[in-house]
């Protein structure tokens, strides 16, 4: 009978950006079980967010640095829903532009990270080089590369000028052929295919029962995309898109869904810029919010869900944050057993874990 050994993976590891601990039970090179330990990143933000509903815009951004604008958008949407505020169309479209730009930076990050854990350093460097162009664009629009601070209750704080929209269109059109080249490498490279096809398979039923969201679910034949519920600018007349989904449910499918979503984002940004009209970008909130609201946004990793309950004062009664990785990380318990040890980093990165979001 082969012996079972336990190998720890994390919380400090070169292929991990964030502290997570995975105890792998190995039978020689085959993984027979995995225990995932999280909590290293738990700061206690749900409690801190009960103190002041206006300061929460600042705090909700800092739940996660990669999807920070998504968090602040979800939060202000909940307050706007409670207060019955009608956000101007221009603000909704600018929110869409920034959300899609953030989706591009996040997907490029994950694609580079996927290449890096396979040892494909050249592709990692090239992907992150293209990512820097998008970061420069965001820096120009918002004034900061991470944590844009553009959202406020009732709209956005900063308007964008005509020159900025021309810069966005110009940068993205220059970026398009380079991204197509990167996508071609991911789609056709034989080593990449050998390491990702039929590796870490998540079936459709398992994805549904685990509650998987985002590209993890869309690669397992569940076309679940919260953008179809028409929040922010996605419901504006003239915006058209369809969720991208695949059926195989392996690491290759998840990577290709993300790679294809890059082009969908560029298209959505182009559509949003075309629909911008001259109008104010903010409506004022009067008084304190009261009631409760559910708010959902499609973050790069999946559905981000906020529940906010207020009692008509500065303090909030309850803020519940459900992040996409909180549910997706449970799918690892289904995908990792029966794979080889060398596949564990590839599978972990393919669900795009964001442990700061999970732990809050």
């Amino acid at each position: 009978m082969a012996r079972i050994s336990v190998t720890p993976f994390g919380p400090q590891h070169p292929s991990l950006l964030e502290p997570i601990h995975i105890k792998l039970r190995l039978e020689e090179e085959k993984v027979v079980g995995a225990d995932i330990v999280i909590g290293y990143n738990h700061r206690g933000l749900e409690r801190a967010m009960e103190l002041d509903f206006k300061k929460n815009i600042y705090l909700s951004e800092r739940v996660c640095g990669i999807c920070s604008f998504n968090h602040s958008t979800t939060y202000v949407q909940a307050i706007e829903q409670m207060a019955g505020l009608l956000v101007p169309t221009r603000a909704r479209l600018i929110r869409t532009i920034m959300l899609e730009l953030q989706r591009m930076t996040s997907h490029l990050l994950t694609l580079g990270h996927t290449a890096e854990v396979m040892g494909y350093e050249n592709l990692f460097m090239q992907t992150w080089r293209e990512r820097e162009d998008v970061m420069r664009l965001i820096d120009r629009i918002a004034g900061n590369r991470v944590h844009y601070s553009m959202n406020t209750i009732g709209g956005i704080r900063k308007d964008i000028s005509y020159d900025t929209t021309k810069d966005i269109e110009g940068t993205l059109s220059q970026l398009l052929p380079k991204l197509e080249e990167i996508r071609r490498v991911f789609a056709r490279d034989s080593t990449f295919a050998k390491r990702t096809k039929r590796v870490g398979v998540l079936s459709r039923d398992a994805a549904r029962r685990y509650g998987a969201v985002g590209p993890t679910a869309r690669a397992s034949d569940i076309p679940y995309d919260v953008r179809l519920s028409s929040y922010a600018g996605y419901g504006v007349e003239g915006i058209k898109f369809r969720p991208i989904h695949r059926e195989e449910g392996d690491c290759y499918a998840r990577t290709m869904v993300r790679a294809d979503e890059l082009f969908q984002s560029i298209d959505l940004i182009g559509q949003s810029i075309g629909l911008l009209r001259d109008e104010p970008v903010m409506v004022q909130l009067k008084g304190n919010p009261q009631g409760e609201a559910f708010s959902r946004v499609e973050a790069p990793r999946g559905e981000l869900f906020y529940y906010v309950k207020a009692k008509g004062e500065i303090k909030l009664d309850r803020v519940k944050i459900r992040t996409p990785t909180f549910v997706n990380v449970q799918c690892l318990a289904e995908m990792i057993p029966n794979c080889q040890l060398a596949d564990v980093p590839v599978i972990t990165v393919s669900i795009d874990p964001c442990i700061c979001c999970t732990d809050r």
Partner: protein, 139 residues
């Protein structure tokens, strides 16, 4: 965005303890209808009771099951029907101190840290500034 339509069974709002059979049969029905679990939220109602909100996504809309429980007794776990509920239930055990049958806490908070049910309204967990003041340090 549409607010979530609420699906309530009769006479559940004033229940002092969880009606466990009801939640499992409702969740089983939803699972057969190919629903997906979105979240399990707990709200401390400040009078010793807690409101539980199970949110599902089914047939292109959000559906919520709500009921109120006290912190006595154990609630039924739905993690055999929806394995994705495991993290939610363990988080509730950590942050609110409620109990689910067969589930252990320790997801986010270690027992050694001395923090117990920090999200309850009645608890006031220590923060770095309060720990500093206790030790007589400055900032």
């Amino acid at each position: 965005m549409q607010p979530a339509p609420v699906m309530e069974a009769p006479s559940q709002k004033e229940a002092a303890s969880a009606t466990e059979v009801d939640i499992r049969s409702k969740v089983m029905k939803l699972s057969k209808a190919e629903a997906q679990l979105v979240a399990i939220t707990v709200v401390d109602l400040s009078d010793g009771t807690f409101e539980l909100i199970y949110t599902f996504f089914t047939k292109s809309q959000l559906v919520s099951i709500r009921f109120t429980v006290s912190d006595r007794g154990e609630m039924d776990s739905i993690s055999d029907i929806f394995p994705g509920a495991t993290n939610f239930e363990r988080e509730i055990i950590d942050l609110f101190g409620l109990r689910f049958k067969g589930m252990k806490g320790g997801l986010l908070i270690t027992p050694e840290s001395g923090i117990v049910a920090p999200l309850r309204k009645s608890s006031s967990p220590s923060t770095p500034s309060s720990r500093d003041a206790k030790e007589g340090k400055d900032g």
